[in-house]
Symmetry: C2
Subunit: 131 residues, 2 copies
């Protein structure tokens, strides 16, 4: 892993690279997040996609709370080696914390944002259960 992560330019964004996440089965773009070296190494080591959260200042996995984890299928590096594309199997069918398959569930139509996807889960039920 140490060899691989030297091929990637983590310096442009102060230790982070943007990561585009694509559903391996459908080709849908699911989300964008960031990895630092640690999250990248953890992703390769475990086969479960791990990101770095700037707001929480720690690594996290999609689906930690909702169960909608992402199994790594492929890692692609762009021409400048400063952006990654990962292909995943999206367990549970929803990458977005709002309950949609993709975070890009709104489309710009006639100068308005229109929801163009159906929810897979209700975020109020998944995240706020305290019983």
């Amino acid at each position: 892993v140490s060899h691989v992560d030297q091929m990637i330019d983590f310096d442009k964004l102060g230790g982070l690279v943007p990561v585009i996440v694509q559903d391996d089965a459908t080709g849908a773009v699911l989300m964008m997040a960031y990895m630092n070296r640690e999250a990248f190494a953890e992703t390769l080591r475990t086969g479960r996609v791990c990101y770095f959260s700037r707001s929480r200042d720690r690594c996290w996995r999609c689906g930690e709370e909702s169960g909608t984890v992402q199994e790594l299928r492929g890692v692609y590096v762009d021409c400048d080696a400063d952006t990654l594309l990962v292909t995943v199997r999206q367990v549970g069918g929803a990458a977005c914390h709002e309950g949609y398959p993709s975070c890009f569930f709104r489309r710009l139509e006639d100068q308005e944002l229109t929801i163009v996807a159906r929810r897979v889960f209700d975020p109020n039920e998944v995240y706020h259960q305290k019983s």
Copy 2:
């Protein structure tokens, strides 16, 4: 356009939003770039995708030199409204200045980066003709 660009959070990255570019026909992820408000407005106005280059400090269009322009098909906004997904018709078949259909032409395999795509054009012929 002024109405629409207020729906998008250009402030997190100092006036820029990351833009994921996807081929409308194949679903392939072609590249990632950035837009500022001006590039976003220009994209909507003209239907040709326009980005902001941090290194050149100006707007640019994919294919200005190579002829491989991108016609806008769709604009999607993510849950945090800080990342865009645009779908395009990629004229000329190559989004990458290296001559590949996608900038993500290298795949991580056995801890090495392997080229997994075929060049559509030779960048030496396209960019360095001075005759």
